[in-house]
């Protein structure tokens, strides 16, 4: 890859950059903290059971409207379920699913990417095979997998893991290769340090920071893709309060002027992804000042 010329920066610009980094980390951190807390505390914070259907109270407006009620603070959807509770529980699902796929993809990626440390031949085979997966646009590959496995949240998670693992593997591999060529690694090998020890004591610690940064990017994208699949009807199945699925079911309500069930899940998705992206950006900036 290109070697960047180390730019000299005036102190003012350096400080400004630090500030921006700080600000992003701060905002991103706050968003994620709020989301995480909301997701964990969802049972306590939800006024209602998100699956409780009651047709007599469908499409209630928010509590500020005379027809609304504090028991259903942000109104109800077309089956009388509390929107606020569903959005909260939806957070659990989206965060769990997003983090879940990324953890799986990272583990798989670490496994496959580490092959480059040990055997060039195996590494070449692995990379060529991964190239095949790289040939597919991400959403389409996920859709093809779902076409075979059927709709459902767990299948969607599996599909996205399949899409993201090669990408993580490539990142890990790149880092592993540069680590491999370091002198101390050659030295270690010369002494006869076992492969496993090399991997865990020397290689991995160098890779982990990059993996963390890339993971946060992947989590954000995974959340978007799961919501997208849910919206298309290929992800979480009803009545699961997944944000994307909630959006697809509520869209006809726009004509009746009921905009809360349509606006809220989308805002939730936006904030979640924003939080992870900001964190990721901030982390990347702080861990490697050369990259912008």
């Amino acid at each position: 890859m290109a070697r960047y010329v180390q730019a000299r920066r005036s102190p003012a610009i350096q400080a400004a950059r630090r500030l921006l980094r700080h600000r992003m980390a701060l905002i991103g951190g706050v968003i994620l903290f709020v989301l995480g807390a909301a997701a964990i505390l969802a049972p306590a914070l939800s006024p209602q059971n998100p699956l409780a259907v009651d047709l007599s109270r469908k499409l209630l407006p928010g509590f500020w409207d005379p027809a609304g009620s504090r028991q259903f603070p942000l109104g109800t959807d077309e089956l009388g379920r509390d929107v606020f509770s569903r959005v909260l529980y939806g957070g659990r699902i989206s965060l769990l699913a997003g983090i879940g796929t990324t953890v799986l993809a990272t583990l798989a990626g670490l496994l496959i990417g580490s092959i480059s440390l040990f055997s060039t031949r195996a590494d070449t085979i692995a990379m060529r095979s991964l190239d095949i997966l790289f040939a597919f646009p991400p959403l389409l590959l996920a859709m093809a997998v779902v076409a075979v496995l059927g709709a459902g949240l767990s299948n969607a998670v599996l599909a996205i893991t399949l899409v993201d693992a090669p990408r993580m593997a490539r990142v890990v591999r790149g880092q592993m290769l540069s680590v491999k060529s370091q002198e101390y690694m050659e030295a270690a090998r010369a002494i006869g340090v076992s492969n496993i020890r090399m991997l865990f004591r020397h290689a991995l610690p160098n890779v982990i920071p990059l993996v963390i940064v890339y993971s946060s990017l992947l989590i954000g994208r995974a959340i978007l893709t799961i919501a997208g699949l849910g919206f298309l009807g290929l992800g979480a199945r009803p009545p699961t309060p997944e944000w994307g699925a909630m959006l697809s079911q509520s869209r006809d309500l726009m004509l009746l002027g009921a905009w809360l069930p349509v606006a809220l899940p989308g805002i939730a998705i936006l904030l979640s992804v924003l939080g992870f992206n900001m964190m990721g950006d901030a982390l990347r900036d702080s861990l490697d000042p050369r990259l912008q």
Binding site: M1, A2, Y4, V5, A7, R8, R9, I13, A16, R128, S129, D131, I132, L133, F134, A135, F136, P137, P138, L139, L140, L141, M143, A144, V145, V146, A147, V148, G220, L224, T225, A227, G228, F231, L232, G233, L234, G244, L247, R251, M254, L255, W259, V262, A263, P265, G266, I269, L270, V273, L274, N277, M278, Q292
Partner: protein
């Protein structure tokens, strides 16, 4: 880098072959008898047998694979399970719609992104810069289908300025030489029709352009900023040259290099974005067709479409790698 890119190019046919094998096997990994499914609810035994023969389902897997590949190379993408039509016909009917949407979206996204990135870099630290940063962060994080719904709610339902989805003006499609309604309308001397068709294009194009615009803005900004730090720029400035011509002549040219890469990389998200945007707006293009065939388990069509997309995407990736290697003089001489 150049060697890497050339190697990728050489591997491309193999990769595509591997992709075709993957897709083929993936869709054969299903429970149930595809022949019975295809033959339909009331098929007699003879009809099911006939279908099985037509699709070579009795023969070993590799025979089926080779037969399928042969068909593909001859342009026969198979027959849809749902209505027996040739997949190639279905694709050809919908391709202009998607192109009519995707190309303006890409152009708009890239152009707007360039402008915004330029503004942000030029006036860095000011509200322009912060605004663009926030906008591009949001543009990357916002779910494209939700954005579409919100735009519809505002412009179609509340303000009724723009139509509520769809592609065709009330009187239907216009047969024309290009297949693009706006152009055909103008060519046919029907400006009112072209205007109505254009009105249908506005919201979907904006929605689809959002993500590319955000990514291009970010990359342009950071790339420009980096270049602006370079010694030679500071030398030029120190020599007393005015800011803007310096920018234009030296910085831009070099800053644009990674942007070429980004445009190529935008194609992947554009495909996904097109699928979601077409679904939200009821746009009768390939994106919506893919969703229909996946939900309908129409495997011949799914196979053909996903492979077609892989072909485009993989080729685009290789070209991007190649262009990146070729354009950037620093890289070339590594």
């Amino acid at each position: 880098m150049l060697r890497y890119a050339l190697r990728q190019l050489a591997y491309l046919p193999m990769v595509l072959l591997g992709a075709s094998l993957l897709i083929f096997l993936l869709l054969r990994a299903l429970p149930g008898d595809p022949a019975a499914l295809l033959a339909g609810e009331w098929a007699t035994e003879e009809q099911v047998v006939r279908v099985r023969q037509q699709l070579h389902l009795d023969e070993p897997l590799y025979v089926q694979y080779v037969a399928w590949l042969g068909d593909l190379l001859r342009g026969n993408l198979g027959r849809s399970f749902r209505n027996g039509e040739l997949v190639s016909t279905e694709v050809a009917a919908r391709l202009p719609a998607t192109v009519e949407l995707a190309v303006p979206a890409l152009v708009l996204g890239v152009a707007a992104g360039l402008v915004l990135g330029l503004l942000a870099a030029t006036f860095r630290g000011t509200w322009w810069d912060n605004g663009v940063m926030v906008l591009s962060l949001a543009g990357i994080a916002v779910p494209v289908f939700w954005m579409g719904l919100m735009l519809i709610m505002l412009f179609s339902v509340k303000l009724t300025w723009l139509p509520l989805g769809g592609r065709f003006p009330a009187e239907g499609a216009l047969t024309g030489p290009t297949g693009f309604l706006v152009l055909d309308g103008i060519l046919a001397g029907r400006p009112a029709y072209a205007w109505d068709a254009a009105r249908h294009l506005v919201l979907p194009v904006i929605t689809l352009a959002l993500f590319p615009m955000a990514t291009v803005a970010r990359v342009t900004r950071s790339s420009l900023l980096e270049v602006l730090q370079q010694d030679y720029i500071r030398t030029a400035r120190a020599k007393g040259l005015a800011r803007v011509p310096v920018l234009m002549r030296h910085a831009l040219r070099n800053a644009l290099i990674p942007v070429v890469t980004i445009v190529g990389i935008s194609i992947g998200p554009l495909v996904g974005g097109a699928v979601l945007t077409e679904t939200v707006y009821g746009w009768p293009g390939l994106g919506r067709y893919v969703v229909a065939v996946v939900i309908g388990r129409d495997f011949p069509a799914v196979q053909a479409l996903v492979l077609f997309a892989a072909l485009l995407f993989a080729t685009a990736n290789v070209l991007v790698d190649l262009s990146y290697a070729l354009i950037d003089p620093r890289i070339r001489f590594e």
